[in-house]
């Protein structure tokens, strides 16, 4: 162990290749004899495919093959299932119609972008041109896009097998009758109906996949822009194509962002793999940006009615929620888990609320699938709680900071005090929630702000402050717990540490980096634990052939779970190294100390360097009897609990009374993500998350018309946050170590996106309240100038 790297802002080693344009993404790969696939997609949200004529396309020079859903069906392939099972309240299994790779003749397309045929050609251009020659006749039906409308009697059905478009209903918390009673007996009830709008993840690299079947070995390789290579292989082999898993290699090379949207097993991955077998040539498909808008899984999309009860002293007495969640046309890999176990279980927030009940209805609609998007369920829970808190403070005429402090769970470290058992299944690990809020408020300069706000209230530029505090369940996840909750996989992680004979170290992790900087952070941990230079460590990930197994990266799990697996292997290395060192130094193992890269006999200056131990392990001429040569260990780490990062976000906005335009003036974030390995990378993760959370509050949101057409499916109309929409962020952090993993880390990837959205909307409302518009309870996100202006002028 040394202290050279952990906790230091080490520059990211991977950035050199990214910044110089030398990253290797799936679409950069050109395999010998590679062909190009163009997927023909439905322009309608709900229509029956009456006929498909491929003859003209097939006759085009340069076209290798054209396949339709009928070809796929003849191979006995049903489609892609979900990776998580949630049951109805009454115990029935959720409705899970598989997502066909291509929709065949006589079947119905379920959303704009549903795939109908694939043209494979010698070039991308030939494939696209020939696709125009495929004649498809559709009979168009009415569509439904809103989850509340979808479950009404008589709404157009997405799947015959799912009556009233209900995929499943679900509840969590205390018995409903108890919560009803507590609400009825409350001194004050704050009630709010609101929408958490649908978000398009928009990673900078569109999805891409290359299927490569080699008949010589009867083996397949799938290169794909995924966050999750091993799980893709498992799902595709076992549940979609029926290929033996040992015959398939999945590689997720450099991946340009995912934000959740690349966790899932998509139909295109199975399609190119299947096509490659048919033509015995590699088949590449790369999504166009416009295609990404209608095929990537979206996020959020909840319609909620929530009520929070208080006693006469302002203590929360109960929380009652009815939410409709839109799951889109098919169940994507983690879709059933997001509105349930990643959302319902977080409704305790940071508060001591004694009674909580969530009633959830998850609906199919004629839109693309909705699944995890940065934060996944936890931003929806935080938005709900924090909007209610600021609104309740406004209604009761109390200070929103005081109201939170009064209701916070008291500090506990999870070691001397037990973890906190919530009403909604989870047990929080450790936290000091008062501290992050107090720090944030101090950074704001609260009293001065209220004075400035009072002055501004007389002008045309209103000022507002919005508060938000959050907690998230990260480090996903204890396998036994998620298994009991319906996950069809374990959520442990694998870390292999291979010390080379020269003492250089190769590390293989099942976590996957698509922008998070694993190659740096993980190397910092390894270098310090072994006391060797950072340059002597290389991190490998993303290839099922080199990494034993893995569950990928999402849910802020990489360091907490993947890092812990590596630490376990490092401990085994150090322990075995001690046996070799004891032999070399002619000492007892117990008398040795390992520090700064060498084993030293306690109380002497006799020592042996780690590099010597490595060489001896591989050249075991003079070696302990009975000890195996080599220095290479692999470990599986299954966490004992989730980790629980938390924090406080504060937004200050200016609202133009005449135009309704909102300008974000300040943004303060005090986060506790446990111990920090690389503060620069953590800050970067927070910055990115904040941009996306603020984007939801002010700018972004998918809009479907009543026919199921996404009418803002391009960057001309879908408004992404840009640097000039954002102020310089003011960050601080507290460090409350996670008590149950060896690094004490909690995860930082999603925090920014979870806490920020309600802070901004609360600030907009606070500005309006200060300007005499106290009656406004809600403004739909994104809070565009038009919506804010209408709220003031209604």
């Amino acid at each position: 162990m040394s202290n050279k790297y952990i906790g230091k802002a080490v520059k990211r080693v991977e950035d050199k290749r990214f910044i110089t344009g030398k990253g290797k993404y799936t679409d950069d790969m050109i395999l010998p004899r590679q062909t190009y696939a163009y997927i023909i997609r439905s322009p309608y949200a709900h229509a029956q495919v009456k006929s498909i004529d491929i003859s003209q396309a097939l006759a085009t020079e340069g076209v290798v093959a054209v396949f339709t859903g009928d070809d796929i069906a003849q191979s006995g392939i049903n489609g892609v299932p979900a990776g998580w099972q949630v049951n109805f309240k009454n115990g029935d299994i959720m409705k899970e119609p598989p997502h066909p790779l291509l929709v065949g003749t006589g079947s119905t397309v379920k959303h704009v972008g549903d795939a109908v045929a694939v043209v494979i050609a010698e070039s991308k251009e030939i494939a696209a041109d020939a696709a125009e020659l495929v004649e498809i006749d559709y009979e168009v039906f009415d569509a439904v896009v809103n989850p509340v409308e979808a479950v009404k009697e008589g709404a157009p059905l997405v799947h015959e097998s799912a009556p009233n478009n209900i995929a499943f209903d679900w509840e969590i918390g205390n018995p409903k009758a108890e919560v009803d009673e507590a609400i009825a007996n409350s001194h004050h009830v704050t009630s709010l109906e609101f929408v958490n709008q649908r978000m398009v993840p928009n990673p900078i690299e569109p999805r891409s996949a290359i299927g490569h079947y080699e008949s010589s070995s009867d083996r397949y390789t799938l290169y794909t822009s995924t966050q999750n290579p091993h799980l893709i292989r498992l799902l595709m082999c076992a549940f979609v194509l029926g290929i033996p898993e040992h015959k398939v290699r999945v590689v997720g090379p450099d991946v340009g962002g995912g934000f959740g949207s690349k966790i899932f097993h998509y139909t295109e991955e199975a399609l190119v793999t299947w096509c490659s077998k048919q033509i015995e040539r590699p088949v590449k498909w790369t999504s166009e940006r416009s295609e990404a808008f209608i095929t990537d899984a979206h996020g959020r999309d909840h319609v909620t009615h929530a009520e929070m009860g208080f006693d006469k002293d302002g203590n929360v007495t109960a929380l009652r929620i009815k939410t409709f969640a839109n799951l889109g046309a098919y169940l994507s890999t983690f879709a059933p888990a997001v509105p349930t176990y990643l959302h319902g279980t977080l409704l305790q927030g940071l508060y001591t609320t004694p009674k909580i009940h969530l009633d959830m209805t998850c609906a199919f609609t004629h839109t693309n699938a909705v699944d995890a998007y940065r934060g996944a369920g936890r931003p929806e829970a935080t938005y709900l709680l924090e909007r209610l808190m600021d609104l309740a403070a406004h209604e009761m005429g109390v200070d929103p900071v005081e109201l939170r402090l009064k209701n916070f769970i008291p500090p506990f470290d999870g070691v001397n005090q037990p973890g906190y058992q919530t009403q909604v299944a989870l047990q929080y690990d450790s936290g000091n929630y008062h501290e992050v809020l107090r720090r944030g408020v101090a950074m704001l300069g609260y009293e001065e702000f209220r004075k400035a706000q009072a002055e501004a209230a007389q002008s045309n530029k209103l000022l507002g402050v919005g508060f938000s505090t959050y907690i998230e369940a990260c480090g996903i996840a204890p396998s036994a717990v998620v298994g009991a909750l319906g996950a069809r996989a374990g959520l442990y992680e694998v870390g292999q540490v291979r010390v080379q004979p020269t003492g250089k170290v190769s590390v293989y992790t099942g976590a996957h980096s698509h922008g998070q900087g694993h190659e740096t952070t993980f190397a910092q941990v390894v270098a310090d634990k072994l006391g060797i230079p950072l340059e002597d460590v290389e991190i490998h990930h993303g290839d099922t052939e080199t990494v034993a197994f893995g569950m990928g990266t999402y849910g802020s799990r990489s360091l907490a779970v993947g890092g812990s697996a590596i630490v376990k292997s490092l401990e085994k290395i150090i322990e075995k190294g001690a046996k070799i060192a004891a032999h070399k130094l002619e000492a007892n193992e117990e008398d040795l100390t390992f520090a700064d890269g060498k084993y030293t006999v306690n109380g002497t200056d006799k020592s042996v360097a780690f590099g010597d131990i490595a060489l001896t392990a591989y050249v075991p001429h003079n070696y302990p009897a009975g000890l195996e040569p080599g220095l290479d260990f692999s470990s599986f780490y299954d966490p004992a609990n989730f980790t629980y990062p938390y924090g406080c976000h504060i937004a200050v906005v200016e609202v133009d009374k005449e135009t309704g335009k909102v300008s974000l003036k300040r943004f303060i974030a005090v986060d506790d993500v446990g111990n920090v390995i690389n503060p620069m990378i953590v800050d970067g993760q927070i910055h990115g998350g904040l941009a996306q959370g603020i984007g939801q509050a002010l700018l972004e949101g998918a809009i479907f018309d009543e026919n199921g057409q996404l009418i803002n499916g391009s960057y001309m109309d879908y408004c992404m946050p840009r640097a000039d929409d954002l102020p310089m962020f003011e960050l601080d952090r507290t460090e409350t170590p996670c008590p149950h993993n060896p690094l004490g880390v909690k995860g930082a990837g999603e925090a920014g996106c979870i806490g920020s959205t309600p802070a901004v909307v609360n600030a907009v409302l606070d500005a309006l309240w200060s300007g005499g518009f106290g009656h406004v309870k809600d403004i739909l996100m994104p809070t565009t100038p038009e919506r804010v202006w209408r709220a003031m002028n209604s």
């Binding site: 322009p43 309608y44 704009v112 696709a131 125009e132 416009s290 808008f293 209608i294 018309d705 026919n707 057409q709 996404l710 009418i711 803002n712 499916g713 391009s714 001309m716 109309d717």
Partner: protein, 146 residues
């Protein structure tokens, strides 16, 4: 997408009406039309090619006229398909004689779009629609003058 507009033509209302009802003339003045065939009473088949910025494609499909009140009003129903998406529109067209030599045409309607057409920037599409309308009236004026 909403479609509205108006334009004044230097021709008597009867002449404007007559030209609008003439398939050969329409085929000449509607932008991008390469073929317009009468398939029945007030029913036509049209093939057109449009290239304007992001909207570039070959459209084909039917046109029908309904609610005809000579010489003042009719409704044009358009159902055009293309690889970049389909357009279904119903447009009410009104003619008003301003004086013996001047006629105002106004139109009002809504187009339902699907596929890539629907996803393409709405502001861009409105621009495309305005450009096409302008071209139509310019062609119309030239036809009157010829």
């Amino acid at each position: 997408m909403q479609l509205t507009g108006s334009h004044t033509l230097a021709a008597p209302i009867e002449k404007v009406w007559q030209m609008l009802m003439d398939t050969d003339i329409l085929a000449k003045i509607v932008p991008g039309v390469s073929r317009l065939e009468k398939t029945g009473e007030n029913e036509f088949e049209a093939i057109s090619e449009i290239k304007l910025g992001p909207v570039s494609g070959k459209f084909s499909g039917g046109l029908t006229l309904s609610d005809i009140v000579e010489p003042s009003t009719f409704t044009l129903n358009v159902s055009q398909n293309s690889k970049i998406g389909n357009a279904d529109a119903s447009i009410k067209i009104n003619l008003l004689a301003l004086d013996a030599q001047q006629t105002e045409i106004s139109f009002e309607g809504e187009a339902k779009l699907s596929g890539l057409l629907a996803r393409t920037g709405q502001r861009v599409l409105s621009g495309v629609a305005n450009t096409l309308t302008k071209q139509f009236f310019t062609n119309f004026e030239e036809e009157i003058a010829s």
